[in-house]
């Protein structure tokens, strides 16, 4: 029999419900695994006793012949920007180092209702700002495939945890690619859902018109299982959609599926191995009945510029709440006024990248510059969305690489923020346009690093998205890519 940590979430839930294994044994297997892989920095916070207590509750429910739910006894790791009652939520920041939220995020409530067991909180770039899980007040995360490489970011801890079998499922957030890029770098499946599909209540806000919570898993079906558990309307998020989420785990054919290949995503700047992997994926799909269609999204070349105006602008406004008064850090320095206390607290509490983005956003919104930067970016964004909608009149899905290269080394781009920003070039469009996008493994480089394939669908096109991703997974036998195993 395979190890518990190798099993899919769906298999674990059915084994727990059938009493073939206890929720406690499942929790212990993953906790033990998390300790063995502690050096990759996937978790910022584990609370083994609370995890085991919760697992026993699931076993007790089953003793009483109650159904704990579709995720019965399944351990789930949570990115540390999702509020958890009675468990720290630091956002990787000195500012929130001691913060323990008095409430659970909507997705955390939903996970409990589904019978899941929260394992702990995972590493991230500070306030989810970054692409490498290095911008942190604590410790960087590492790629389980090659520890000298980054797992990606900002949901790098969640992706590394799933890839190394420390958790079968994890939640992260995606503002410009923060779920998909780490999924690609770590060889797992990651989805940014349609904007509005998952409530943002209890997600610490970064850029509210772009942020979306989504699943990470080692198979397309497991990602669907987790999405089904957390999606759905929540009146506490004014942008939460009322769309009834269909079953996302139904099998289906890709015969006749129109797959768009946007040339702006496939041109210069791609590592040859990445371009070749996507080309192979396309050929395989066509061989099995899909229709490849060349399409163009010319405004894509402005996507990074639009993103790095809109996201920092919204961040500068959202992060104004860290004032040293209601929660979080307050400076110990002697200060002469509330304004002075505020500025000193924020100067001490935020790291370099967060400051950079607050300043950039404040600049773009400041008097005299607003129209030239924020106003203009929002107009280009509307045009991008129109352009994307028009393309989706001719194709069902778009197929692209997730990232131009496989995982880069820790430190490689840390001193060059613009180079780091440009690594998001293939993922930000989905956030700017509000459409769903999924990254899944499609092979490895000669160095053994995973390569990610990205699917994009029209808004609320998750059903087609999952159908195509599942078909490709099965045709290419492109399950999760396990990292090299370690001695016990």
């Amino acid at each position: 029999m395979s190890h518990l940590w190798q099993m899919t979430a769906a298999a674990l839930a059915s084994a727990v419900r059938a009493r073939e294994v206890s929720a406690l044994e499942v929790a212990d297997a993953h906790l033990e695994r998390a300790l063995r892989w502690n050096d990759i920095g996937a978790f910022l916070h584990l609370e083994p006793e609370a995890t085991r207590r919760r697992a026993r509750e699931i076993d007790d429910q089953l003793d009483r012949r109650e159904d704990p739910g579709p995720l019965a006894g399944v351990p789930v790791a949570l990115k540390d920007n999702l509020c958890t009652r009675d468990m720290p939520t630091t956002c990787g920041s000195r500012m929130l180092e001691t913060f323990v939220p008095p409430y659970d995020a909507h997705v955390v409530e939903r996970l409990r209702q589904a019978g899941a067991v929260v394992l702990g909180k995972t590493n991230l770039d500070e306030f989810a700002m970054g692409s490498s899980t290095e911008n942190t007040a604590f410790r960087p995360a590492r790629n389980p495939h090659r520890p000298e490489c980054t797992p990606g970011g900002s949901s790098g801890g969640s992706a590394a945890a799933v890839a190394a079998g420390l958790a079968p499922l994890a939640l992260g957030s995606d503002t410009g690619g923060s779920l998909r890029q780490p999924a690609a770098f770590c060889g797992v499946v990651g989805l940014k859902p349609t904007y509005g599909l998952v409530s943002r209540y209890g997600l610490v806000a970064f850029a509210s018109s772009l942020d979306q919570i989504g699943p990470l898993a080692r198979s397309v079906d497991d990602a669907a299982l987790l999405l089904e558990a957390v999606a759905g309307h929540d009146p506490r998020d004014a942008t939460s959609s009322r769309w009834a989420v269909p079953s996302l785990r139904a099998a289906g054919s890709i015969e006749g599926l129109r797959v768009g290949l946007p040339r702006e995503f496939l041109g210069d700047g791609l590592a040859p191995e990445v371009a070749a992997a996507v080309e192979r994926a396309k050929s395989l799909l066509v061989e099995h009945g899909a229709r490849a269609v060349d399409v163009s999204l010319p405004l894509t070349r402005h996507a990074i510029a639009v993103y790095y105006i809109v996201a920092p602008s919204e961040a500068s406004s959202n992060l104004a709440r860290y004032d040293g008064v209601r929660y979080g850090l307050r400076t110990e320095d002697e200060t002469s006024s509330v304004d002075d206390m505020l500025a000193a607290t924020r100067g001490e509490g935020f790291g370099r990248e967060v400051k950079r983005r607050i300043l950039l956003g404040t600049f773009a919104l400041s008097s005299g510059y607003y129209d030239a930067y924020y106003g203009r970016a929002q107009r280009v964004r509307a045009a991008m969305r129109r352009e994307m909608n028009e393309v989706f009149e001719h194709v069902d899905l778009l197929l692209t690489p997730t990232t131009p290269t496989a995982a880069f080394r820790l430190g490689e781009k840390l001193e060059d923020p613009l180079a780091m920003y440009l690594s998001d070039v293939l993922t930000v469009s989905a956030n700017l346009c509000g459409v769903p996008a999924l990254s899944m493994p499609c092979g490895r480089t000669a160095d053994g690093l995973p390569i990610g394939l990205q699917w994009m669908a029209p808004r609320f096109g998750e059903e087609t998205l999952f159908r195509a991703a599942r078909a490709y997974e099965s045709l290419a036998q492109a399950g999760s890519l396990w990292p090299p195993e370690r001695a016990a």
Binding site: V100, T239, A343, L360, A377, R381
Partner: protein
């Protein structure tokens, strides 16, 4: 748009962000490069009346009903300084001041 040290200080004041001098110099260099990059948006051809994207869906409204909210003690539990009732901040009005 050049970003010099003085501009960084102006923005930092607006953002209520204390920045040390060596940090300000590094940030000015970074911002200068980033702003030069995002300035490329000025060249995008858009119709004069192009609308801006603000919402994906039309505005959603709901009835304004009172509902459960955070308990008083819970709201205070993470405050750096508080008494039984209030968040406390450093004194801002000197005795005898206006």
């Amino acid at each position: 748009m050049p970003i010099d040290l003085e501009e960084v200080r102006r923005i930092a004041r607006l953002a209520r962000l204390r920045i040390e001098t060596d940090e300000a110099e590094a940030l000015a260099r970074d911002l200068e490069r980033i702003v030069a990059y995002i300035d490329s948006l000025a060249d995008v051809a858009l119709p004069e009346d192009a609308e801006a994207l603000t919402y994906f869906d039309s505005d959603v409204t709901r009835d304004d009903h009172a509902g459960p909210c955070l308990d008083h003690d819970e709201a205070l539990q993470n405050a750096p300084d508080h008494d039984d009732t209030f968040f406390l901040v450093p004194k801002i009005v000197e005795k005898g001041g206006a």
